[in-house]
Symmetry: C2
Subunit: 152 residues, 2 copies
DNA sequence: CACACATATTTGCCTTGACAAATATATTTT
DNA sequence: AAAATATATTTGTCAAGGCAAATATGTGTG
């Protein structure tokens, strides 16, 4: 199976590569968990549902920004998720350009199932870190993100 | 204006999302640095050159695995980089199926320029972390990666 | 009001990368 | 050695996402 000579030599990976590797594995694990429940959802779609479930209805642009997705790509994801009945595009009351994306009851129910997957994967991923270390990891990542976004 | 309620509330991002955000920013920053030098290279291509520069000639499959890229995608990247004169596909001496990908002198020269970019971006990204914290961040990420790859 | 400009969404086009099939060559089994 | 199997590379096909243009609507300025 895995005779990859690099499997244990990632010690000198640069941060950019290492982040990519970890993220790829998390996405893989999440999609595997979702598939194991007989559901068909990509990680991106999972994120969209999660946002809507946690933050409530919002515009497509706002939603796109919040999952760091291109606006055009968002339109197509919404097409899919809407056609499968998980969300609705309602007209925005004040702004006729904008939409108000909201979960349907089905979308809500779906999220109930997904929230387990999410927690299970994150727990497994961080199982070798204690509570303090988890906090630190999160904290460091946020500081790195902030540093990158405010380069001056 | 920016009335995005998420701009400063990434504190509750899940690990998967946060990793994605950080990685995206690093890739963006790297590509910006490269473009600022008048060079045209994507992050993936940068990684390929880096591997070859650091580890020397190797097969396409090995190279693909080492940057976590699909074999088919690797073929096409090699096409591009070879046609631009940065690397060569030599026949493997013992195995006639395999290739021996090696940097040309031009590829080597290119890497000399890129190594700056790499260091500058990583330094900027981690500028708010001290040496110990950087080590910890790296260590945590590797432990998470390991946990994900050995899920049992 | 008329105009310029900004924003929300959609659509078209293009590149990237995943997956699977094809091809060529090695390795192992019988 | 022939057959089965494994590996390296290439190619075809497809979905995802970035970018730019198109459209519709909102906002500000003279």
């Amino acid at each position: 199976m895995n005779n990859d000579p690099l499997a244990h030599s990632s010690s000198r990976e640069s941060l950019g590569v290492l982040l990519g590797l970890v993220r790829t594995e998390i996405v893989r694990a999440m999609e595997a968990e979702i598939a194991a429940k007989g559901l068909e959802l990509r990680f991106t779609q999972f994120l969209i549902l999660k946002r809507l479930a946690k933050l409530g209805p919002m515009g497509a642009t706002e939603l796109a920004r919040s999952v760091e997705l291109d606006g055009g790509a968002m339109t197509r994801q919404l097409d899919q998720l809407e056609s499968r009945g998980y969300l609705r595009r309602c007209p925005h009351e004040q702004d006729r350009r904008a939409l108000r994306i909201e979960l349907t009851a089905e979308g809500d129910a779906l999220w109930q199932q997904l929230t387990n997957c999410n927690e299970r994967v994150l727990k497994a991923a961080q199982r070798s870190l204690n509570a303090t270390e988890r906090k630190h990891l999160h904290d460091y990542l946020e500081r790195v993100l902030h540093a990158l976004r405010n380069k001056n």
